[in-house]
Symmetry: C2
Subunit: 196 residues, 2 copies
DNA sequence: GCGGATTTAGCACAGTCGTGCTAACGTCCC
DNA sequence: GGGACGTTAGCACGACTGTGCTAAATCCGC
């Protein structure tokens, strides 16, 4: 039944196989043969869907972004800005298994993007959009001058990436409760002037 | 002249060759042959100094920690806690070429540590020490209860790692000035109650 | 049922990998 | 000088890599 499942669906399945291989053994093991075996295909078959390994990895990396954006677009966002920020930004933290998988795979791809030009383009695109989101929430939550806004955006953005990174590296230490507590505390400080 | 340079010095040189290969082409290219070529040795010779590739990579990863700790131990630290924190914590941010190199290599090794048990041990050791340092500075700079202290420590630690990560991924966006400004702003908020 | 197109499987090639092993080389001590 | 030893170089092996290519299997419209 070759035509029943359309091409995009097959690509999506392959991308998930890439994810599984990466989480298990790292990107360096995401070879054409290993991914094909993980997906239950022959290497030759895989190469009719992705004609090159680079394509396969790029698609799998983009899939991470797509899944995050789809989830963010689908959730109910409160009207109140502070609560809205918390709900949306929590979607970027690995608080459940789904987000944990996305995060681990993203970390692996980001590292490889340091030396792979194609993946770097994907990473830069995501980075720019995340930075835009950080700026958006800072504008919404605070009333600061331009350069203060800039510093706060970078701080929020870096904090979230740092939290996600810690969760990937040390899931035992960076528990979901802890991540949420830190984010909530940071947002509290941003919105209200109160400290200590 | 085989005996002139002692064993540790040779190992240190090899570690630096590993760094160069990693920064240029990524950890996956840090093979015995590539590192040997980078160091001007034959692969067979390298394996008399590091009998296995795993040993070589572990040593090169530990070298990152050693260099950071040596630098931190060597700097002049102000008496005033707020200034001291700024000076010390800046040593963890990639503000110059030396720290940029350490940071890039560390990011690469950290990613590989996700799937390499030996490197994971090195990474966990460093992580625990950094977390201890974060807790130390929070205690010194604030007067909080235990669980608030815990949240602030994780926040400071994650922020620094996030800043360093951003600097590695997007050196054009995360400039040294920007990194320092964010850190300074965060420390300001920690020490003084003032906001906005 | 059948032709034709598409999907699948698998081989071939040239390259790299980690590592075991041997042979030449250098220097040092006696 | 000569023997011994630490160092260096390099080959060999089996495994894996990405990719080009060819043959088989499968399904579709008719």
């Amino acid at each position: 039944m070759p035509k029943i499942v359309d091409r995009n669906e097959r690509r999506r399945e392959l991308a998930e196989a890439v994810w599984r291989v990466i989480r298990q053994d790292g990107v360096e093991q995401a070879s054409v043969r290993n991914v094909a075996r993980e997906a239950g295909l022959s290497a030759g078959s895989l190469r009719h869907i992705f004609s090159t390994q680079s394509e396969l990895l790029q698609f799998a990396m983009r899939t991470v972004i797509d899944r995050v954006e789809t989830r963010v677009a689908g959730i109910a966002v409160p009207d109140e800005p502070r609560a809205a920020a918390q709900v949306v930004l929590e979607q970027l933290l690995p608080l459940d298994e789904e987000r944990r998988a996305e995060n681990e795979v993203w970390v692996a791809f980001s590292a490889r993007a340091m030396v792979d030009d194609h993946l770097r383009a994907v990473r830069d695109d995501a980075y720019d959009r995340l930075r835009g989101a950080a700026e958006h929430w800072i504008r919404l939550l605070t009333d600061l001058g331009p350069e203060e806004q800039d510093v706060e955006s970078e701080r929020l953005f870096s904090l979230i990436d740092g939290l996600a990174l810690h969760a990937a590296l040390r899931p035992d230490a960076a528990t979901p409760e802890r991540l949420k507590a830190v984010l909530a505390h940071h947002l509290d400080q941003l919105t209200q002037g109160g400290r200590r």
